[in-house]
Assembly symmetry: D3
Homo-oligomer: 331 residues x 6
């Protein structure tokens, strides 16, 4: 793991370390003297950096989104640390572990992928099994499936988050199919495995999570339609009606038009899958809001994805009666 992380920078330290260039510009002081200003970051936060002398040569070689190796002194300006750069250069690819710059799932990615393949092999419908295995065993897809986040902000917004979400959904799908015997578990598993495949291309998660231009123009639902259609075409004899069923489940999984589903679920499994996907995303969003201290003892941070904050149940149940109650008690 890299050292130091932004969150650990301490005054007057002299450091050598690696950071991602998030902003870069040349500015002038009040007296008109130019200097280099950069915003450097890693997965723990970001910090201002300035270089006052002889920065021109270095500055030309790096751009936004590049990784740099810096030699600098930590100063405190307006109560915040700032790097006074003495030297820096473009980092070499082999010096960088991307995981230091983007948060990642706490689970073992390889293990999760094995689990996913095992679930895929458990699909009994031969067409669906062939379809998901064709996609999951495509090495290009596999590499990215193991790295993609499930979203930029809303839920599972870290490397490996998509895989974590999908493996979770497969588990849920199997439980729920036990509960409702009328459901076809093969369709639910297929939905879980393919419903966000378009995110592999909708999002760009090389160095930070953002949307690709194609992702913004088309969205992951439309993008995965094509990926899945191609895979189906390559499977000789894939039944046309089953194809329409799978496509319907994919395009309807957001459950409502305003969330970008051009059709509402009209197949039982599509309806149930929409609930599972939605619930799992929301549970993950709560989990994420819970990790942040909001300043209110009994409440999580405000979750933008959910439009509200959540009660910290244990703390609340363990807390002293609050003012209102105290008062009542006294009277």
């Amino acid at each position: 793991m890299k050292s130091p992380f932004v969150k650990d920078l301490a005054a007057d330290q002299v450091i050598t370390g690696f950071f991602l260039v998030q902003e870069k510009e040349v500015r002038n002081t009040n007296t008109g003297k130019p200097y280099l200003r950069m915003e450097l970051g890693d997965r723990s936060g970001s910090v201002e950096a300035r270089m006052w002398e002889q920065f021109e040569a270095c500055a030309k070689t790096v751009n936004r989104d590049d990784f740099v190796k810096v030699h600098a002194r930590v100063e405190i300006y307006r109560n915040k640390p700032q790097l006074s750069l003495q030297q820096f250069r473009l980092a070499k690819p082999e010096e960088i572990d991307l995981a230091d710059f983007l948060a990642h799932t706490p689970f073992d990615v390889e293990e999760m992928y094995r689990q996913l393949l095992s679930d895929a092999e458990g699909i009994k419908n031969p067409w669906l099994q062939k379809l998901v295995l064709k996609i999951l065993r495509n090495p290009e897809i596999e590499v990215r499936y193991k790295r993609a986040p499930a979203a930029k902000v809303m839920h599972h917004a870290y490397l490996g988050g998509l895989l974590e979400h999908v493996v979770g959904l497969c588990g849920l799908a199997k439980l729920v199919a036990l509960h409702y015997p009328e459901l076809d578990v093969d369709l639910l598993l297929t939905a879980a495995m393919l419903h966000d495949v378009g995110k592999l291309d909708e999002l760009c998660y090389e160095r930070s999570v953002s949307y690709t231009t194609e992702g913004q123009l088309l969205g992951h639902i439309v993008m995965e339609l094509e990926t899945v259609a191609k895979a189906m075409e390559e499977i000789e004899g894939f039944p046309a009606k089953l194809k329409a069923v799978v496509q319907h489940i994919l395009i309807s999984h957001h459950g409502q038009y305003e969330f970008g589903s051009p059709k509402l679920p009209m197949i039982r499994e599509a309806l149930v899958f929409h609930y599972l996907d939605d619930m799992d995303s929301k549970v993950a969003a709560v989990r994420s809001a819970m990790t942040i201290e909001s300043g209110e003892e009994q409440w999580s941070a405000y979750s933008g994805a959910l439009g509200r904050k959540f009660l910290r149940l244990e703390r609340y149940l363990a807390s002293e009666p609050d003012n209102a109650t105290k008062k009542e008690a006294k009277n």
Copy 2:
């Protein structure tokens, strides 16, 4: 079981049987001669009945929502059967089995209630266990819990439907709590068991399902708040904060203001329970729409609860290619 049912009436039959009076009025023929017209029904449907002579005495003794024993001849008028009444009287309570007049759950009510009590006993939090058992073992509540439908129209709209829905939710809750270790299964089970207790009073399901006046003025959420609050008060030392938690889960279980929840779920278990309750209701609504033939081979009847019809997956997958496809094949 009663005999004959409305759906089995055949032309020229002379029958003796029991029916529910759904409408009753005295009308005049074109020549001004009065006659009695009633709409008689049972759980299989309804039929027009007329009595032309000496109906006055009988007519006085019965009202809408009474059960009657009739002696009549089946005639066919405008291609539909009609009863020509020869005699009728108020039925005696012991002659009537309510189940003949209202549809009921296909599952064994006693068995389901035992399952419910067993789940309740499995709750580990002693306060929550006491609370739900206090309510479920109240004989007045038990009698009605075994009979109540879950709704008038939307889902599980038959005798015992509420119990079927609740037992299903308990099963789901236990599965989902396995999946998400951060969830408190005791709260989920408590939510399942209490979230619709207000329906015991919101609905009137003596002879047909309708809303009581209080049910219309207050709704089941407000009604069950009071039932549950009373039970809590009777449990000495029930913790005030746990009370607020349970109340919050009850009032937020519809998940949205426009569905009558005065608060949105702000506790993890409240959020998850909302999803489970909503999903189970919708799955039941699909199931119910699937039992009705719509005239479109590949589609269920239109579900008012869901605002759409659902694909009959097996029939669709087994069907011949449709016109469009046939055409394509030919070319």
Copy 3:
């Protein structure tokens, strides 16, 4: 043209003619005697038909959506004509001109298609020209493009309506591109030609206009995405970015999520095309509402597509002052 049309049936006529079977069932009279009841139709309307004797053999050979040749007498029942069938048989394909059964565009379909191809040839961007010509010159597509309606109810809901709508949009696109020099007319024309290609498969318009099962599950936007993607793939070297641009214009052409566009227009031409398509559909819907007499002299029929009725401008301007005004005038 066929003769007679339903709207021309006169009492006591004995006719021989062709009709589409819209409903078919065997019923019983009050006395229990079975008879055949059918609903027969053509593009001018529909009529009840009954056959009282020896219908069993004939009845077996025909089904809903078949064409029949009937020999019948026109009777009047409850002030409406009814056919008393003497004989009927399945019609032979060569006896039927589909245009007699479905309304069609008043314009010459062949002429419109020539116009369309000529507009396509006028596209200067070589990739876009290849793309649209590949699709428009596909004989399978051409046959259906010349026949498809633009919708089941909303606008251009008749055979050839889609082509009429598209040719109109090409004309509008060229005018508007003249007006706004920043617009790329090639993209607008491509959008016009391809934006409803999915309707060739979404709708079923062999004998009456309805939705195919696939059409209901996927919708024309998703269906045409695949058609267009395949055509692009078959054009070697079709630029990936241009592909994303065309796909974006297709998926965003409904302009709003709730109308089934999974993305809002984010390209200038996509925005303008959305306006043109929407305006042309609405103008056509007004035109169609204007053809129906509503009983209110100064107003069109109520247009479901627009949610209101429209003023008949000429009649209104030519009318006498109405009551309110008359009154004012007198005082």
Copy 4:
């Protein structure tokens, strides 16, 4: 008062009376013989009328919305009365009292208008007083102000209803201005008197209540803007800013865009007046729903204006406990 009213027609009666022609058409019997069919009405209801012989001459002289004098026999057909016409002619204006054909306010119109003028004279701001008196004393306006309904369906939907509504609002305005000393009662009274003046022209209430074509194209807010602007112009020196204030109150009185107010209330008196107007309309709508028996003992008829039914408080409080309660009591 006219006699008989539709609601009093009895079988086999021979009557002579006056009715409004609501529909008129010539039809054919099954045997092709033509006859005249009309729908005749008065304020108590409507009835079918037929004339079988020698109706051609009479029929030519009357049209929809004409009043006729008829001589007829009352027959009963399908359990409903029907008029068999022997003779009829166009009624003379002096034979008709419009009040027999349209419901009217139970209050004395002349008395209410005197009250209105007296309130107007009580306005202290000289410009506002001049303005409202100029309008209320305009004889053309006065005649129609005494007759206009406040709406076609929603509230005060009878002759004189508008005046009743306005006089009520003036009373409310004076009470509320006492309560909130910061309010300018003159502005509230002006608003009450002018806010629906456009309805004099928006509605047509000669013989039945409907919308004029101009009313549909412009709406009463726009129509009264012009009436009021003209009156202001004729008052020399009317302050421009006071004019804008009055206009703002008029255009914002519906309180929301979707109810046709192009601006939301941004003046204190505009806000309060909106509440008073809305509340008075809704109270009147409840009152009207309460006059109709719905078949449910404890509930009013469903009010379309309010989207719900209302509890009959007295009946409810006086009622026996309902089934649900009875049950509880027994146990």
Copy 5:
């Protein structure tokens, strides 16, 4: 009254006074030297305070929401006053008058409460009278009723605001009941007195106004349901139907689902009370926006509660014609 208030602090003053600690933290200077930073406030505003030397002992004894007595010098930093603390200690309860720290109603709270009790005694329905007196004469409730604000931000957001709002509503209710004879004034008064009783517990208004955790989980409607239900239970023989009526009025008083009413008003008095409550809140919100100078001469501050600003009528009417008008005048 305390002295000085924050708004009166002047440069170079040396002061001794009492403040509420709104924030407290220890920070480091750029050179790493720790200092204490607090935000101190009273009802007139808030001010930054810093203590540079020997603050550790004092700092330990105070927390957020404590009152402190400070000895300090007023300095100006970046054009704003700042306190340089020399000494401070926790204030003693008897040194503090809460009214100095929270804004309060301009009216006499005791006088208003007497008025409220007198209105309660004027209720003729014996059950309703007993009910409201039981609640209003409960000493615990009385103490808090005299202090509670009506809201945190929206309207009457100051100590005693709730009482002011309720007394105002009682006055309005009596006026409006005079106007509409069909209204039961006893129900309206009961509604006014009880509809916000839940706010006594929903809000926390010891030192500043905020929501209690229970208030956030349940809301005042649900909270007051329980308070009122308990009071009813303690009144022997309180009629069950009257209870449902009162409960309905309470739960429906927000008038719309999205404002947290689980039922819409279905009783006449519930409907009218909703209008009165809504109008009084909005009038108060306008009043409050009017007290703030927005920088725009003719307009109030923007009211978040109303989503707009309001015209200052007097200033507008008295103003010079604005530019646009001036211009016109010149031409």
Copy 6:
């Protein structure tokens, strides 16, 4: 053209120039010394200005929205230029060219107005021609029509923008009327010329664009109704029905209630005009967003009017494959 513009100010320059006073206040330094602070602007941006000595006399003579002539030195403070004023005075009207302070249309205003008059003269309906010429040839209106922006923010938000928008709409109207022969081009042209005439008074665009008080109270639709009604009245014999038609088109041109149209388009030309007006505004909003560099190479700035950003088509098509694509290519 004035010199220098704010955007051209360079450090240490000594300048003499003209600016608009956007803010003015007297502040105190930390040591209590008063100084003058102003915000000065022109159409290229705004700059802080301070005067430290002897500013009292000057300061009294100028106010917000005045133009001033300043003599100052450009200093750099916190990396931004700031004016250190040495002297300033009120500018004389003849020294100021308003166009230097507000952005203006790139087109020749006189030429556009000639085009507009020529289009007006081309209207064949004599009443409509008289109407628009009466308005357009009114010298007071003409002066302002040549200067008014079309909006404060949304589209064509610069001097002459309204005229540019209207001339564009006339051009579009003529093209579209060619395309749809059922449209009356005279009505479309009249709509284009009059639909925003109210903006001449709704907006205030003397020195910066803002809303007049009347504009906020009434809005341009209501304001132009009066202008147009007056013009019609002055044309003897202007047909009442044509007046209603024109008024309807004006009030419905926003197309939806929530955008302030009290009626939806119910005339064919009103519907089409709404589309043209909406499309032209949106195309202009895109154009304006395209002129701003957003920092994202391939995207325009975010357009508040449209709620999204737009693709820069040329740059996108010419760009290197992005990361996602690069990756794919490599594998």
